[in-house]
Amino acid sequence: MTALITAPPRTPLARLRWALADGWTVTRRDLTHWRNQPLQLVAGLLFSVMVLLMFGFLFGGAMFVPGGGDYREFLVPGVLALTMVFGVETTFTAISTDAARGVTDRFRSLPMAPSAVVLGRCTADLLSAVLTLAALVLAGLAMGWQWHNGVAGAFAAFALLLFLRLAMLWLGIYLGLVLRSPEAVMALQILVWPLGFLSSAFVAPATMPGWLAAVAEWNPLSATATAIRELFGNPGWGGQSWPSEHPVLLAVLWPLALTAVFCPLAIRGYRELSR
């Protein structure tokens, strides 16, 4: 019988190591999910690539970029930003499934670092975002998309994309803990999809009627899409408004604001579990 009872670590450094180790254990659980069900992972990647191909080849012929330029060059950054926002569904499903199945409670009854669940979720979701981005970049390159401002610009663009994904993590955790039902992802999709289209991801907001155009311009997804178009040196839609003139600033501010609101709410969500 293993009756080995360990005591929690005492020094701050030992506690940090312990928290990182637990976080990695929780991350590895997701990696094991992928290994157990590679098809699910591949299907997710294919879906993003399909959206890109569909708009690039099916609708692309009918689209034009206001400032001139190739629609596919305009489209790829849009879809990159779009998939970061849609990542909220991945986080939501993982968090609400654990909460509904009692796995969250099991974790809470274990002597593990309380931060490990969030750290593990965060690492796994960012890894999955990186995989999605990689798949889209490859597909984009095959479609003729390129970055024109060198590696530094491209890096800054990917950093902004992952920053947006990180902001979506907090929203996903918060909603997952509040709703605690993986089936509610349907409802989430109904909310997220229009937000995806009501942006500059696929078309220039200038083509939309007045107030819709304003919503699309201020949409966090548009901020990141417009910012990374600039950083990649891809054609933008060239609006005259404040958000279209300060896209990089807005692509930093929006995720910061979302994090500032939903990170505390997510942490409170965990606290509420013991109420």
Partner: protein, 319 residues
């Protein structure tokens, strides 16, 4: 028991959910190495009590400790000493049984090799070795339950909480759970288990707390309680309605208590102290009175009957 520190203590725990009072002054003391049963109907507050004791839920007031560690102030230390098997299986559906146990083992800070070895042992012990590498999604309810139980035993905890561990299990799996609980207590683990079955509490527990409306309404060894409850019961199902009064009179004489009659089912039923003596007197008495019985059965009182006796409220019994 006075000099030894109790393994589990709950003092005057209160917890409400909005209007619902889930715990209303719940008290519990469990001696180290004991098996303590929490017996109560749906909604009595069993799960709430277990969740407070397992550090998952903060009580509104009152205090509780596990292995001497306060479950609120020293939750982390308490967690190293407790295992929890909740009312619903809490395992990762997308992982195999083995992967689940290794994951939880790692989160108990076992080394990878130790976590692997422990997972193997537990799968073996709960007859899951063959299916250990299948995803849990493909498990039956009983298999899931056994895996869940295995996950609660990874560290051979000092105190193990089992919330309705055998609900939904087939008799064989139930016996295995009982055997596992007995083995654990033989090795020194203290067990607190909730159940709706007097039979189960009777089989496993050295002491039983009967819970109703968030508080303990009776506590004692099973024998003590059964004495208060009126022990076992004898049920007689008659062939003819007309025999009901005669049979009731005979049974009253033998049992020394007023039997209950249920004309719809042609049933008379009475509590008996000495099971076998009552049976061997009743059968000849019935036949010499010319009464044909379709069935004569000895059984443990149901939870309803336990409550009937403990609360003394005749209206509450459900036929």
């Amino acid at each position: 028991m006075s000099s030894v520190e109790p393994a589990v203590v709950a003092e005057n725990l209160r917890k409400r959910y909005g209007e619902t009072v889930a715990l209303d002054g719940f008290d519990l003391t469990v001696a180290p190495g004991a098996v303590h049963g929490l017996l109560g109907p749906n909604g009595a507050g069993k799960t709430t009590a277990v969740r407070v004791l397992a550090t998952l839920l903060r009580p509104d007031s009152g205090r509780a400790s596990v292995a001497g560690f306060d479950v609120v102030a020293h939750a982390e230390q308490a967690r190293y000493r407790l295992g929890l098997v909740g009312q619903h299986a809490a395992v990762d559906e997308m992982l195999s049984g083995r992967q689940n146990l290794e994951l939880f083992g790692r989160l108990y800070h076992l080394r990878p090799s130790a976590a692997r070895a422990r997972a193997g042992e537990l799968l073996e012990r709960f007859r899951l070795a063959d299916t250990g590498s299948k995803p849990v999604k493909q498990y039956s309810g009983g298999m899931r339950r056994r895996l869940d139980l295995a996950a609660g035993l990874i560290l051979s905890p000092y105190v193990l909480f089992l919330d309705e561990p055998t609900t939904g299990l087939d008799p064989r799996a139930r016996n295995e759970v009982w055997a596992a609980v007995r083995e654990l207590t033989a090795a020194g683990t203290t067990v607190v288990l909730t159940t709706q079955y007097l039979e189960e509490a009777d089989q496993l527990a050295g002491r039983i707390s009967v819970i109703d409306h968030g508080r303990v309404i009776a506590e004692g060894a099973p024998e003590e309680l059964k004495r208060r409850i009126g022990a076992d019961r004898i049920d007689v199902v008659l062939h003819r309605d007309a025999d009901l009064p005669t049979a009731a009179a005979l049974l009253a004489d033998i049992a020394g208590a007023q039997p209950e009659s249920d004309p719809d089912r042609r049933l008379v039923s009475a509590p008996v102290r000495d099971r076998m003596a009552a049976l061997s007197r009743l059968v000849p008495a019935l036949s010499s009175a010319g009464i044909t019985a379709e069935d004569v059965a000895l059984r443990r009182p149901t939870l309803d009957e336990v409550f009937l006796h403990l609360t003394g409220d005749q209206q509450e019994v459900v036929a």
